[in-house]
């Protein structure tokens, strides 16, 4: 062991991060400023601009139809949201919700094309599989460090870290869904003279839709689980309240905020799952 001195891996990564920060400063600044502003507008002007009672009613109605006119999800959504409002955590909820939506959207926008690429090319699968493993097994806290380096603190680095953490399931499930399409259907498509693009949009993606949606559901859940962690670098929301509870040793405060996250998680989960089980089956 003594033969080889300690390799300066940490220093290399520091240098690389510094170089990236300096080189792409204009880009990071742009994202930090403009994207950050946009997130704030969505959270504070749009979502918080809606009266709480109206918001709850709209969610209730959507839940009623999304769940196939069953009352369970509707009742749960209405009571859950009312409880959060009652606990004076509405603003935190809206911030968390915004963060989850942005992180999920970006993850899906990045994840689906990568998943398609992975399904279409063996080479891509070979390269991406270890990368995805790495992204998922690396402790999520670690992503906070470059996030802060690139975007300092606030919502934007929170979204950034969440995206890295939450993207892999969408990529994996998209790949899986496309590869699961039966060989005979691919042959049928080829036999009728489809181009690669036609095959993708007319056969593979529609057939893989359920699996991809399951991946997206996972992605949303992971993004939500990142909320508490992201609040350590100043992302506003329910996570911040949990951290406050932790720092001040207020069990009750932390628990109530945690309950809020659970309620939000269940509502989002059931919504995305119900969207997945509609049409024809």
């Amino acid at each position: 062991m003594g033969m080889i001195p300690k390799l300066p891996v940490a220093e290399w990564i520091d240098a690389a991060t510094e170089w990236t920060t300096d080189t792409f400063e204009f880009l990071f600044d742009f994202i930090k400023e403009d994207f950050g502003d946009f997130i704030e507008i969505v959270a504070e002007d749009w979502l918080m601009g809606i009266p709480i009672w109206l918001f709850i009613i709209v969610v209730g109605v959507l839940a009623f139809f999304a769940s196939g006119k069953k009352l369970g999800l509707t009742a749960f959504s209405v009571i859950g949201l009312w409880f959060i409002a009652n606990q004076e955590l509405w603003e935190e909820l809206m911030n968390t919700f915004t963060l989850v939506i942005f992180a999920s959207l970006i993850s899906v926008i990045i994840g689906v094309p990568f998943g398609i690429w992975m399904a279409k090319s063996k080479m891509a699968e070979k390269i991406l599989t270890p990368v995805l493993d790495f992204m998922q097994t690396m402790p999520a806290f670690v992503y906070l460090i470059p996030a802060v380096a690139f975007f300092s603190i606030g919502m934007v680095p929170g979204v950034f870290a969440s995206v890295i953490f939450a993207t892999p399931p969408t990529v994996r499930f998209t790949n899986l869904g496309i590869r699961q399409v039966s060989h005979e259907l691919i042959e049928a498509s080829d036999a009728f003279g489809t181009t690669g693009t036609q095959k993708l949009f007319k056969v593979q993606l529609p057939m893989a839709k359920k699996t991809i949606m399951a991946g997206i559901n996972q992605t949303v859940m992971l993004a939500l689980s990142m909320v508490v962690i992201a609040s350590m670098i100043g992302a506003k929301g329910l996570g911040q309240t949990v951290i406050t509870g932790l720092q001040r040793a207020e069990v009750g405060t932390g628990f109530v905020a945690g309950l809020g996250i659970v309620i939000l998680a269940i509502i989002i989960d059931r919504f995305t799952q119900n969207l997945n089980t509609q049409r024809g089956d």
């Binding site: 042959e187 036999a191 181009t195 057939m207």
Partner: protein
Amino acid sequence: MKRTIINKKEEVRDVPIIQVENLSKIFGKNAKKATKYLDEGLSKEDILEKTGNTVGVNRASFDVEEGEIFVIMGLSGSGKSTLVRLINRLIEPTEGSVYIDGQDLAKMDSKDLREVRRQKLSMVFQRFGLFPHRTVLENAEFGLEVQGIDKNERKEKAKKSLEMVGLGGYIHQFPGQLSGGMQQRVGLARALANDPEVLLMDEAFSALDPLIRKEMQDELLELQESMKKTILFITHDLDEALRIGDRIALMKDGRIVQIGTPEEILVNPANDYVEKFVEDVDRSKVLTAENIMKRPETVDIQKHGPRTALERMRKEGLSSIYVTDAKRNLHGYVTADDVSAAVKQDSDNLKGILRTDVPKVDPQTPMQQIFDIIHDSPVPVAVIEEGKLKGVIVRGAVLAALAGSEVNLNGYDS
């Protein structure tokens, strides 16, 4: 192969619609190398042992004429499914050529290949290959949609095609809601909607239960009457092959062992393998009067009298004999008893004792229908074509043919 087209009357074009030449597929790495062993005539097993490569298809050559139903028949592992996929290049051939309308598919770039698949070849799959997320109509219009044909036009064509297979009332259902037989009708309609020149049917009816399968075979034959498509039909079921095939290619271990009409394959199996294969076939459905008839013994009504007739019957051991004229037009028959009586009465003419209640069939009558006729008849059945006596069928020949023994082919040359 000497005869190429049988019982088809349409014009013959100079180039067969499908020409397959020396087509081979070897699966595995270094496949090209393994083709050398094919040259040396090594068996499939030997090549697998030596190189680790599997021979899918071994130097297949055949032509398919326009409007014919050409059946490729073999057991599982014989390479028939690989062969059909080589024809529309779902599988890349290792060597050899496939000409569709004289164009070599194996050398085409992907764009031309796509065009051929869109315009000329349609495929029907064993497990139907329907898209479960599309309705029956959307499935049927798939090929047209891919070609970028206008929405209304393609819907019209797809509907027509669905009506043709009897599914006009189901267009808005999903495939999962239909029975197997109906699903395969959708598969057929989808293939026909393109109006292709060639239908490739890969074990299209094999997943259906026997009654439905027979129904589908009948329907295909009925459709074929009006469409006159060229159909390449893959099956492992010999009865099916014999039933619908104009010609049959028998495959074993990737090699084509015999090509011929159903009759030829039954009557003249090329080798032991084919012979064993056809042993259990229900011959009565395949063989026709032509295959089992004998050259008839006759007397000439103008030239011969009762004495000649009696003499011939005695020589051949017959109890009756057919009476024709010089042009072999059938007049009737006389029995040994009547002839003996006529001889005793010194008659010199057969006209007085001629019987005309002749049991007749034409050369294409299937053997199955001959059973009843021959059962009720005291005399051999006459095979008549345009009024002329082509041959006779005796009871013994029917039994012999059913048993699968050598069939006397005396009738063929006349």
